[in-house]
């Protein structure tokens, strides 16, 4: 009996913990099962870093090359439609074409300082999980640096690494690994 009571107490504690996970969190990428999350999904809101004003009220009011931001971001022809960037194994180097696309993102962000972006770094499953967590961060930081150099304010960028914990491809082969070594640019509010 004692054991059962203790178990119930812990279950109650676990429930509280679960509520803590969901209660009041701005982040909602979590509401979609992780496996099925589409790459670079629109509208993935992310909890802002402490002290960062994300300016939700202004969402949609900015422009990029004279067009409303929400329109440009949803235009598959726009250079800004590339919001996932891929890497070689154990590498955080960006290709020249990726750098060009990132320059467009840098221009968008520097022209609209009220906007913010989350750079979500990921790794493939090979090797150790903790090293891969650091590797995901290194990849996201490579993009952060590039954006900073092109005039994007530090407060506009949040870097988060998930390491190998959130694969988009669930296989265990080169093709899956290639898709999983990535950084996703997530614009909150769009």
């Amino acid at each position: 009996m004692r054991r059962i009571h203790a178990g119930l107490g812990i279950m109650a504690a676990a429930l509280m913990v679960l509520q803590g996970c969901t209660g009041g969190a701005v982040r909602d990428g979590a509401d979609v099962p992780v496996d099925e999350r589409s790459v670079g999904a629109d509208g993935a809101a992310v909890e802002p870093r402490d002290g960062v004003e994300t300016g939700v009220a202004r969402v949609g009011s900015g422009t990029f090359d004279g067009r409303p931001i929400s329109e440009v971001l949803s235009d598959p022809q726009s250079v800004l439609s590339q919001r996932v960037f891929y890497f070689d194994f154990n590498s955080s180097e960006l290709s020249v074409t990726d750098q060009e696309a990132l320059s467009a993102h840098a221009r968008l962000l520097s022209q609209n300082p009220e906007m913010s972006v989350v750079l979500e770094g990921h790794a493939d499953e090979r090797g150790s999980r903790e090293y891969n967590l650091a590797l995901g961060e290194r990849r996201a930081k490579a993009i952060e640096r590039l954006l900073n150099l092109q005039g994007v304010g530090q407060v506009q960028i949040q870097v988060i690494s998930f390491g190998e914990e959130r694969p988009v491809a669930l296989g265990h082969d080169e093709e899956a690994w290639r898709l999983n070594r990535r950084v996703e640019l997530l614009y909150s509010g769009y």
Binding site: G7, I10, L18, R49, L133, A134, I160
Partner: protein
Amino acid sequence: MKKIANILFIPLLLLAAVAEARLTIEITGGREGAMPIAVVPFADEGLSEDRVGQIVSADLARSGHFAPMATQEMPAQPHEGRAIDFDTWRRAGIEHLVVGKVAARGEALQVQFQLFDVVRGEQVAGYSIPTTAQRLRRVAHQISDIVYEKITGQRGAFNTHVAYITVGQHEGQLSHRLAVADADGFNEQIILSSRQPLMSPAWAPDGNRLAYVSFEGGRSELYVQDVSSGKREKLASFNGLNSAPSWSPDGRRLAMTLSRDGNPEIYLLDVASRALSRLTFSRSIDTEPAWAPDGRSLVFTSDRGGRPQIYRLKLAGDRPDGRPQRLTFEGDYNARASFSPDGSRLVMVNGNNNRFRIAVQEMESGNVRILTDNRLDESPSFAPNGSMIIYATERNNRGILEAVSVDGRAQQRLGTRAGNVREPAWSPFN
């Protein structure tokens, strides 16, 4: 007798919700030279669903040191010393024999067992242990520990736990769970569930607290949870990574990886005072710290040389003592090292030609042995007696756990019925 009584008074771990699933264990690789032993089914085992003889037999088989005789091959089924005809067992090639019985004592149970050296016809150990039906599995593991230690001279690790992470669909949603089970896979208890990733469970030396990484706040943060009460506390949530916890042998400090200063570095956190001291200073990734058992040095993974390799950093109190020394030179990738309990060897993930396998390196000689033959091994963890290593791997598109003896000869596979299992952490003795 006195020794046993003491063991029994150690409180049971009171864990969360009752198991839905359990790890099943399949022995996949035998061991040449395993000792022939017979564990006769105990008398009146029907008093509980847990069959003591069966549990002891399975424990001993899993260790790789023993080859228990199948029940149907036994020439007799005695339950006490007086009933043993040693000649029949000698003829059957048996060297050691375990017999015993379970008896009701009011609400409680009494387990009696004897271990015999068949060759000499002598009793090696014999105990009578008071218990309850609920604790019978634990008593069986304690009997396994006694048999193992009497015969091999090494302390048994059967009465220990394994923590691990499972990931799978639960009520239509992806669920990450932190679980604790007995070392034989039974009594799985979920101590935390989250829709966000959980990582890096690490046992405190007291065997009752687990440090781990949770993404429930949208990024990596470090928690410590009391396993028996479920109470937990956020210990590190600095900007950037909060990851790779490792308890100091005295349980007062945690080594961890933080990128609060812009780059992943190893830090020490004093658990009581929350004082933080930084141990590494390089522009590369430094992560996965693990303490030497004497608490005077740490090993960690760094790619300061271009690729991930293992380095050792000596400590003077909370400060680094000299520069980190590289320890690994075999293979193009070495990561997630940890010390054997006696400090004489390291286990790690060794990557070579796109294969990631478990390797053991002797500290003194630097000799490296690859223990596994898989493709995607990770997260190795020593048993507290140093005899086995549990690790995670991938098979048929599922994450599973496997264990291998430190000499690489005995292997077993542990799996749940569904979902993925990963990041096993073997508990200390408790």
